[in-house]
Amino acid sequence: MDILNFVKQPWPWYVAGPLIGLTVPVLLLIGNKSFGISASLRHICAACVPAKIPFFQYNWKSESWNLLFVAGILLGGLIAGAWLSNPAAMTVHPALAKELAGYGITNYQSLVPAELFNWQALFTARGLLMMVGGGFLVGFGTRYAGGCTSGHAIMGLSTLQWPSLVATICFMIGGFVMANVFLPWILAL
């Protein structure tokens, strides 16, 4: 099927970006909801381990749409991974491939590097730092900042909120510092 093969190719930014942007009006118009994903982590805390902490004392059930939305993202990942995935390996910038080869990372078959993120790696210093440490920073940082790439960078900037611009700039600074200064050290572990 030609259409299926066409869809299986990686989508260019000018197709994917506008489609992601359309999530903003879709959520506003189907239910007056502001696009944001990291709040789902707070709702999970409020639902499962509120532990009498004031920050988790609110009616999370009224925000259940957000949990359905992230469940949908997981299902979407499943569908795209199972039936729409690109059979060819990813192509990355030659300089990145060269750098990563130095850390023993040469497998480009999946979007998530198999050599870095797997169950065995979890019991190594590098894997533990990257999966447990990295995840913790993502969860702590997004809530401290009051949003993530979706809530601040996309929804916040779409509604011209300057605090979201500050947050987005800080996301980028943190990312640049980690990728270029600290990550090489972690990858070399």
Binding site: P10, L22, L29, I30, V70, G134, F140, P163
Partner: protein, 140 residues
């Protein structure tokens, strides 16, 4: 019953969003590394065009007072500035470059079969919980 069925639209919206995430490779650790090394325009193009389309949509909704499908006026929550956006933003940025994923892509990565990312997600939930626990003591 009708109310819970009508909530399924959010599941569907998330599903479509998840497929786009995967197909645009924005959930890829490699693409995030390229972005933070200025080796590819891809992620800048995705985020930039998403913001432009979002801005245009919000402008149109306000300009023509477009109502929700339930007939309500669309409301926007203003974000108030606090220093948390700086400190938290920097911390999230550090994590983003390690995991190669913001919260949304974590869910999509698990969906594509990278089951170990469940641990990253649980750790992110723990991070959110620790923030909630020590919120009063942190500078904002």
């Amino acid at each position: 019953m009708y109310k819970s069925l009508s909530q399924l639209k959010y599941l569907l919206a998330g599903l479509v969003f998840g497929v786009i995430f995967v197909k645009a490779e924005v959930i890829s650790w490699f693409r995030i590394q390229e972005m933070f090394r200025l080796q590819s325009f891809h992620m800048y193009g995705v985020i930039g065009s998403a913001v432009l389309v979002g801005m245009l949509s919000v402008w149109l909704i306000k300009k023509f007072n477009i109502k929700t499908i339930q007939g309500e006026t669309v409301t926007f929550q203003p974000k108030k500035f606090n220093r948390g956006q700086i400190y938290g933003g920097l911390i999230f940025g550090l994590g983003w470059a390690i995991t190669g994923a913001c919260p949304g892509p974590l869910f999509a990565q698990i969906g594509t079969g990278a089951t170990v990312i469940v641990i990253t997600l649980l750790s992110a939930i723990a991070g959110t919980w620790v923030y909630g626990k020590f919120r009063e003591k942190l500078p904002h």
